[in-house]
Symmetry: C2
Subunit: 437 residues, 2 copies
């Protein structure tokens, strides 16, 4: 199936006189232009063929996309709408000649959205036979309601659409599943001199040829002003918190890692390079621990926590720039385990050098075993039961590295290792026995 992306507009309000020459599709948002973001969101939903309708400064948009096409990994046809100022309905109609199949997806380059919305739309439309479907959201979820296209829905059916309608209870998200009837409606309305897409949609509504799908509160945003751009940025960064995040990760690490990621997305640094960076910081932390003395211990503790924070950035940058790979996830988890091992060995050795005795080795051995076993039981549980294990004692990696930092700050290496050994192994045995029931 093909996706048609409208990228013909000027976006005057967004540039606000600053850099008028930059067309709206190329405005950057967290490391990707709005147009790239739309393409990659659709690609993540399984769409690989695109028609992009360009208009305002079209050469620049085409040139930019063609330069980046290889890394986008999709097929793109361009269509020029020289009369882009007339209205976006005309832009949709211009795409008609590039479509072989009857059905297509219609997207706006200035609407960012969670790709799960599009996945659901495709699944929904497949089960509805051939009918147009329009994604809608509740008015209270919209950033700039004044500028939104409103819809009145009665009993699951759309009744009217428009920017200025009085009675509305939903808002158009700019994500459509279209059949050829969309073109029929467009041709009809354009013949009457009505050039907006919503004119054609109103026509489809009247003929009961379009349905609505509530996106259920998932994220989307129409980027029209610098304020909405900032809003989208904030929402997207907020969404990086994962449901599996531990408490330290949620309340401390993410606050810092998001700020770092916000900057990293604007560089060419890859997620795997960030993974390696975090690993090197962990090794440096271990090296300080090896030296044993308190002043080094503090440095090591700080580096351990910093490494823990940067360890969140690889995934964040990957998600923000659509760069998630299986290999990246694999490397990340392997290097994390070696980093854990190196830090614990450093702590043991440093302590032993200053204080001697064999107890730190034995306790350290249990701390290492317990740390590994938390990660191992996570992985095995997922293997076998195909879901994530529930953690009761919050002793995942974020907490372990936090405990290491605190232990180092207070110069209590032995107690810290003992605490790690106890908490990790108790949690593993809890996981073992809780499942017996």
């Amino acid at each position: 199936m093909k996706a048609v992306i409208l990228a013909a507009g000027k976006g005057e309000r967004l540039s606000q006189g600053k850099d008028e020459s930059k067309p709206k599709p190329l405005i950057p948002l967290l490391g990707l232009s709005l147009l790239e973001r739309t393409i990659l969101s659709a690609k993540e939903s399984g769409l690989y063929d695109f028609t992009i309708v360009v208009g305002y400064i079209s050469e620049e948009v085409v040139k930019y996309v063609e330069t980046n096409q290889k890394h986008l990994g999709v097929n793109i046809d361009f269509v020029e709408n020289e009369e882009w100022e007339k209205g976006n309905g005309l832009s949709v109609l211009k795409a008609k000649k590039t479509l072989k199949e009857e059905d297509f997806v219609l997207l706006m380059c200035d609407h960012v959205f969670d790709s799960s919305i599009l996945k659901e739309l495709l699944g929904y439309a497949k089960n509805r036979g051939s009918k147009c479907v329009l994604c809608v959201d509740k008015p209270e979820n919209v950033f700039d309601l004044d500028d939104a296209t409103k819809i009145e829905i009665r009993g699951n059916k759309p009744k009217s659409i428009g920017k200025r309608i009085e009675n509305y209870n939903a808002v158009d998200c700019g994500i459509f599943y279209c059949t050829s009837e969309m073109f029929d409606a467009l041709e009809n309305e354009i013949g009457k001199g009505k050039y907006e897409l919503s004119d054609a949609v109103q026509c489809l509504i009247e003929d009961e040829k379009i349905e609505v799908l509530d996106i259920g509160g998932r994220f989307w945003c129409d980027i029209d002003t610098p304020e909405s751009l900032e809003y989208a940025k904030r929402k997207m960064l907020d969404s990086l918190t994962k449901p599996t995040d531990g408490v330290v990760s949620e309340y401390i690490n993410r606050r810092f890692s998001k700020r770092v990621s916000k900057r990293l997305v604007n560089t060419n640094i890859t997620p795997t390079q960030i993974t390696v960076m975090s690993f090197i910081m962990a090794l440096a932390s271990a090296a300080f621990f090896f030296l044993g003395e308190y002043k080094y211990l503090i440095m090591g503790g700080l580096l351990a926590q910093a490494s823990s924070i940067i360890d969140g950035c690889d995934g964040e940058v990957a998600r923000l720039k659509f760069l998630e790979t299986d290999y990246g996830a694999f490397v990340d988890s392997i290097l994390d385990r070696y980093a854990d091992g190196a830090m614990i060995l450093g702590l043991i050795f440093g302590y032993w050098m200053l204080n001697g005795g064999i107890s730190v080795w034995i306790i350290g051995f249990f701390a290492l075993t317990g740390s590994f076993m938390i990660s191992y039981t996570n992985a095995r549980f997922e293997n076998i039961f195909e879901k994530s294990v529930k953690t009761r004692i919050p002793i995942r990696r974020d907490m372990r590295l936090f405990i290491i930092m605190i232990g180092a700050f207070f110069n209590h290496v032995l107690a810290m290792l003992l605490l790690l050994a106890i908490l990790t192994n108790i949690e593993v045995f809890r996981r073992l026995f809780s499942m017996q029931r």
Copy 2:
């Protein structure tokens, strides 16, 4: 869908005058009666409703099954065929009144088979509309060809069936997918005084109402004589070797573990109890290692290897008795890791007590990390890529415990730990980099 199991015969040749009173369905094979085995194989293929046709000493069969029904976890109707001596076609027809749906699966209680055959049959039949299907095998795979029911197939179509036909190129496996046409054919033939199932099948063949499905060399066996019982036992034990088995496991451990499992299946010992037994042996091994002296080291080495062998039995018994559970697999892998940790700690401590020095601790630390990382990368690889990782350096658990035994025998603990540390960590890094390509 319901499965009809024929369990009415006497099995004279199997008991061979020994214990004439024991009806054939109750003859034990590796810890389960033939009838239980047939029921549980079908259950593993997703069938939970059964009609069992009994005849010879029917009260005993019914009583036995009713006693065990709870642990079988299926629904069973019994039908009595008092004229069981006439022929097995009559037994099938007797089941008709217990079937609500039209289609059913027909099985023989004295045929053991790999449950994947039945899974494939069900999938195959689903795509063929309503048509009878009979599973067939090549004649060269059959243990007792003289007694087998032969089939002539020409161009994928069955042409004739019978024990005494001249030209045949396949053998009936006694596993059928039947539509109501089977009953029509049976009624027809029985009316003519022909009481055997193969008479009805011949009739279906002539009307082109039955197809054949080649089971592709998978295991099945008709148990008719003490020799065929022994043959089935041997084949089933042989099939326990897993494709993921390491070299030590394949060439040494399995030889012993199969012999142990062959005995264990006849007891009430559960797979989880065997897992715990293996774990305790590993802890005992670690305890000997802790003592350090050479004489204890030998004991520890022997116990480590013995634990490795018994570690294979839990899975073997579980597979032989249809007792595999997700929880069992989880417990097994967790206890294995702790066992590995305990043995390595024991080896380090024992060596250190006699020789002092810190090098054994550091080397042991790397050996422990490497051992964990082999198992961890196995699990993570499966998580992420949904297949098993390829091992190039054979350093999975079977080999690690074997190296520990050899190292203990030669009193070279330090060299053994160093070898483990090097091989395991090299393999982990190989896995990491080989995937980058």
